[in-house]
């Protein structure tokens, strides 16, 4: 039996390849994702090894749940640490994520891509992962001197001795480039821009006030790092801790892995979509193959094979196809990993190149996915094959197994669809369990439900879609339409695969356009200000990066601006939970920012250590106005804070304090937002041009009008949409190949019919046209179902998020129409091969009776 199955696979190579393509693409997406993330993980591991190679103990501020990276601690700690027994060398350093190097044209280097990392130059070579490249200058030794990494120097076209503008805590400043540094042997640290100053100078540029960000300690030979860490901890003040280099390295590795984990889950979700689509294709292919081999299988039954054996034969055949597809898929996974890297770089994520990593886990998962996908998809067709009666070998009509009635199908399909919708709603509206999992499951089950129901819609829809064809293309058009109607199940399951891909594309498109509409609504509602200034750097995923404090002062000197109001952001703990806290100037905020405060909340909050809270948040926390709650700050610890008022708008933040309160409790590093209004008689454009010199000088700041903010946001949404669509593209390719596959098999099945048409005078072009339009109808059918589902799905998700600032639901009609047209074009492409095959068919072979 195994031999028979194996021979059957080899005997139909085209069929094998077409079926395998679906498997190959699915498997390669999975393995590509693994290879991609494993490669990055390895690169980071190597990097961390290098950074921590000489560090035995690391001293740092305890950030705990505030974990917004490094926080400063008093510089005098260093002297205490140096006194501890067993310490060979201790190097204090400062670091910054907000320094910005400007290129020769005054534009920020790095942009949205890899970050800019600022460090002080470590005096001890064994504790300093950076070194000056041979004959490329020297280390920074004093004020006005800077060293940059080799990659930045060469890509920006700098040379030792050049003057470089760097925007720091005190605003833009000019420095002399005194040296070029490499990271170990590497010219680039994963594409990041690295800025190095002498320690004192670094403190000034990064805004450290006799403080350090960390101390790296090298132990004397023979001293245990664990023990040394404990000894050092003993001399440290509260809020500062000592950990071994190994611990810190592991922490960093864990952070990186967590970030990569999200990326990997996201990518695997898209791979899952492709596999789901592939399952439709594979199942359909096996179903058709079995229908075509009815006589052969019946013959096997007639000469004594049991139904069970026939079933196994089909499954073994699926196994071989799956095995072939998985192996090729793993190989293609390498190309896919490069492709994913390219795609990530395209949307500005700045992923470095490096040799790819293939772990045994990748191979195992890839093989498992391919084999399980194929065999599970073949289960139903195999069952059907086992039910072919032996007499079918002799009589054609005996092979027709009774079809489930349309009634049963409608009931079954509706039940499955209903179940899917229930999952969707549970996920979207109730918040039971993990919403995203429920939504994903609901979508998948709904897709299956729709695909069960789809054959019911196949005939009428094919009639409508194909309506113009007989008029346009005569009998070829008519036959194309009739052909899609004759096997509604086949048409529907072929179209279902495309439906899934198109539905998700449509969903993301609808979601994106709704988001855009909501963003624009929110921005215009929330910001009465004419201009909003923010940093171009994103050093913290949740908080806006502070702009140099000098900027706000400089802006206040412009007569073209009437109001300049800064907003600051920070993390706090309330009852152990981390929250974000925003701060503003109560006197001016009303003119630039919409809060809809109740009573005189804005004037009351001017009192130090008082705050105002969004009414919805107030209720959810069970607070009332007048309560005193305890806020824990990183710098000042627990502070009793009075709730003095509330506001209605919950679009931005839940809690606000005054800037005065902020400065008292946080290390003030600058404003995250600066709002400004144009003075009377000055247009927004004029004001914008007036302050342009200052903005340009800082380089890392953007001053945007409301419509520019909206455009900016829209651009980011479009980028995300492009990324998702790009990833869904594979699912669509699989679906289109599915159409090719089904048509090729159908053409083979209709050999006699096509032969007859050719005999009675159909020219090749007409045959091709017939097949082509059949594909177009199937593709359009799938696309229409997909677009409908996508829009409905988009609508429900937008409705579910209505509480989170989603006011608008918008259907991008142009894009939806484009999707339908593209689907039709995909149909044309899918038909190329089968149409060619059909038109090349030997007329005589086709009509020969035996």
């Amino acid at each position: 039996m195994i031999k028979t199955a194996f021979k059957s696979v080899l005997a139909h190579k085209v069929r094998l390849v077409l079926t395998a393509v679906a498997i190959i693409l699915g498997v390669s997406l999975v393995t590509g994702t693994f290879i991609f993330t494993d490669t990055i993980t390895k690169q980071f591991d190597t990097l961390l090894d290098e950074i921590y190679s000489g560090t035995d103990v690391s001293v740092r501020a305890e950030t705990g749940d505030f974990s917004a990276g490094t926080e400063p601690f008093p510089a005098n700690v260093l002297a205490d640490v140096e006194q501890v027994d067993g310490v060979a060398v201790a190097d204090g350093g400062v670091a910054s994520l907000t320094a910005q190097v400007l290129d020769r044209d005054g534009m920020p280097i790095g942009g949205q891509g890899p970050p800019t990392l600022g460090f002080s130059w470590g005096e001890t070579p064994s504790l300093n992962p950076m070194k000056i490249k041979d004959d490329q200058g020297r280390a920074p030794e004093g004020p006005g001197e800077v060293v940059l990494d080799a990659n930045t120097v060469s890509s920006a076209g700098f040379a030792v001795g050049d003057t470089v503008t760097i925007v720091g805590f005190e605003g833009p400043d000019e420095f002399e480039l005194v040296g070029v540094a490499s990271f170990g042997d590497q010219d680039s640290l994963l594409g990041a821009t690295i800025v190095l100053f002498e320690l004192e100078e670094a403190m000034r540029v990064f805004g450290f006030d006799d403080e350090l960000a960390g101390i790296s300690v090298q132990a004397e030979p023979g001293v245990d790092s664990e023990q040394l860490a404990m000894d050092i901890a003993a001399v440290l003040p509260t809020g500062v801790e000592a950990v071994t280099g190994e611990t810190e390295q592991n922490e960093q590795a864990a952070d990186i892995n967590e970030g990569l984990g999200f990326l990997s889950i996201g990518l695997l979700a898209f791979a899952g979509v492709s596999i789901f689509v592939g399952a439709f294709i594979i199942q359909n292919t096996f179903r058709i193959i079995i229908a075509q081999r009815t006589r052969e299988l019946a013959l096997l039954r007639a000469i004594g094979a049991t139904g069970r054996q026939v079933r196994w034969m089909v499954l073994v055949e699926a196994f071989f196809v799956g095995l072939f597809g998985s192996i090729v898929g793993i190989v293609v996974g390498f190309a896919m990993a490069l492709g994913i890297r390219g795609l990530m770089n395209l949307v500005g994520l700045g992923i470095p190149s490096g040799s790819l990593v293939l772990l045994p886990r990748t191979v195992i998962v890839g093989m498992a996915v391919g084999l399980i996908l194929t065999m599970a998809s073949a289960l139903l067709p195999a069952r059907k094959a086992s039910k072919i009666p032996p007499v079918a070998a002799l009589r054609e009509d005996a092979a027709r197994t009774p079809r489930r009635s349309l009634h049963t199908r409608a009931l079954a399909g509706s039940a499955v669809l209903g179940l899917g919708v229930v999952f969707l709603f549970l996920g979207l509206f109730t918040g039971i369990g993990r919403a995203i999992v429920l939504v994903g499951l609901g979508a998948a089950v709904s897709f299956i439900g729709v695909s069960v129901l789809a054959p019911l819609a196949a005939k009428p829809l094919a009639n409508i879609i194909g309506w113009p064809l007989p008029r346009l293309f005569g009998v070829a058009g008519q036959l194309a339409r009739e052909n899609t109607k004759r096997k509604p199940r086949r048409t529907a399951s072929t179209a279902s695969a495309l439906m899934v891909g198109v539905a998700l594309v449509a969903f993301f498109t609808v979601f994106a356009s709704s988001t855009k509409a909501s963003v624009s609504e929110t921005v215009f509602e929330l910001f009465p200000a004419d201009l909003a200034l923010s940093s171009t750097i994103q050093s913290d995923p949740e908080l806006l990066s502070p702009m140099s404090p000098s900027l706000v002062e400089e802006l206040k000197t412009y007569d073209e601006l009437s109001v300049v109001s800064g907003m600051q952001f920070g993390r706090i703990l309330i009852d152990g939970d981390t929250h974000l806290l925003d701060a503003f100037d109560p006197e001016t905020i009303g003119q630039v920012f919409f809060l809809d405060p109740n009573d005189d909340a804005l004037s009351l909050v001017a009192e130090v250590n008082s705050m105002i809270v969004a009414t919805s948040f107030l209720e959810s926390q069970g607070w009332v106005i007048g309560d005193t709650i305890t806020i824990e700050y990183l710098t000042t610890g627990e502070v009793a804070t009075v709730i003095v008022g509330s506001f209605e708008s919950d679009d931005f933040s839940n809690m606000y304090v005054s800037t005065e309160t902020y400065i008292e409790n946080f290390r003030y590093q600058g404003d995250g937002f600066i709002f400004a209004n144009a003075a009377d008689g000055v247009t927004v454009d004029e004001a914008q041009s007036a302050i342009a010199p200052t903005i340009d000088r800082y380089g890392n700041v953007k001053a945007q009008s409301k419509s520019e903010i909206v455009t900016d946001a829209e651009m980011q949404i479009d980028q995300a949409l492009a990324l998702f669509t790009g990833l869904l593209f594979f699912a669509v390719i699989i679906a289109v190949l599915g159409i090719t596959n089904t048509l090729t098999l159908s053409v083979y099945e209709r050999t006699r019919e096509i032969g007859l048409l050719r005999a009675v005078g159909m020219v090749r072009r007409q045959v091709r046209r017939m097949i082509r339009w059949e594909a177009v109808i199937v593709a359009t059918f799938g696309a229409i179902l997909g677009v409908l589902i996508g829009i409905i799905l988009g609508w429900s998700v937008v409705r579910a998020l209505a509480d989170e600032g989603f006011g608008a639901f918008a259907i991008p009609y142009g894009q939806v129409l484009l999707a339908l047209v593209l689907a039709a074009v995909a149909g044309v492409l899918a038909a190329i091969w089968p149409a060619r095959k059909a038109s090349r068919m030997n007329v005589l072979d086709a009509i020969r009776t035996e």
Binding site: G474, Q478, E753, L757, V760, M762, V763, L844
Partner: protein, 247 residues
């Protein structure tokens, strides 16, 4: 051959050889056949299995090509035509009735009958169409799909289709091979009437003497060669001749 004879010849083959395979292994399905089919005549080609009768029919009809020799429909040398021209010649000047699978399952009887015309993008001659429908006796079945027709009805639809474009010649390959005797008689009677009443030229391949008896002339083929001919046959005379050939 005179000019008058040429115009009266609907199709002919000169020294037709059809071989499969190469060199020593080659098999001659047709081994030097020369035969003409006169306009308005009903000719049957008979012969035992493997005699090459179907191959001959395919080669004259432009469905297959001769290895050597020439085949003509009217004055047109089939070998000189491209696939496209050959296809158009088939649809305009030739009609076909096969043993089975004559109809497109998705088209109803009327659409199947008109198929050669619709493919060519031409309108039917209504009078002629009505005349065929009436003769073939299917007026009440025209909106039925092939699956809803009996075997005999299906073959009569096929015959009507073969005639609808007024072809110069109709080729039939065992047209009644799958039919019971009553349906068979109806179909052959219809073909006979087409020859008598409309002057249609028909060439039919069969191995059944009873079927062949409907023809005006019979050509006997054995081992790829024409071995005998007879005119105005009856079932008995055909049977006797076959016996003498086989013996």
């Amino acid at each position: 051959m005179t000019t008058t004879e040429l115009t009266r010849t609907a199709a002919r083959v000169e020294n037709g050889i059809k071989s499969y395979g190469e060199g020593d292994a080659s098999v001659h399905a047709l081994n030097g056949v020369t035969v003409s089919f006169v306009q308005g005549e009903f000719t049957a080609i008979m012969g035992p299995s493997g005699s090459g009768k179907s191959t001959l029919l395919h080669c004259i009809a432009g469905l297959d090509t001769l290895s050597e020799g020439k085949a003509y429909i009217g004055d047109v040398d089939l070998a000189s035509l491209s696939d496209r021209d050959l296809t158009i010649l088939r649809r305009e000047r030739v009609g076909f009735i096969f043993q089975a699978f004559n109809l497109i399952p998705t088209l109803d009887a009327r659409e199947n009958i008109l198929l050669p015309l619709t493919i060519a993008g031409k309108d039917a001659d209504t009078d002629w169409y009505n005349q065929i429908i009436e003769t073939v006796g299917l007026a009440d079945r025209l909106t039925h799909l092939p699956a809803e027709l009996s075997g005999g009805q299906q073959q009569r639809v096929a015959a009507a289709r073969a005639l609808v474009s007024r072809p110069e010649i109709v080729f039939a390959d065992e047209p009644s091979g799958n039919l019971d005797s009553k349906s068979s008689a109806e179909l052959l009677g219809f073909m006979r009437r087409a020859v008598k009443e409309f002057g249609q030229t028909i060439v039919m391949v069969t191995h059944d003497p009873g079927t062949a008896a409907y023809a005006d002339r019979i050509v006997f083929l054995t081992d790829g060669k024409i071995v005998d001919e007879m005119s105005d046959p009856t079932a008995d005379s055909v049977f006797d001749r076959l016996k003498s050939l086989g013996g």
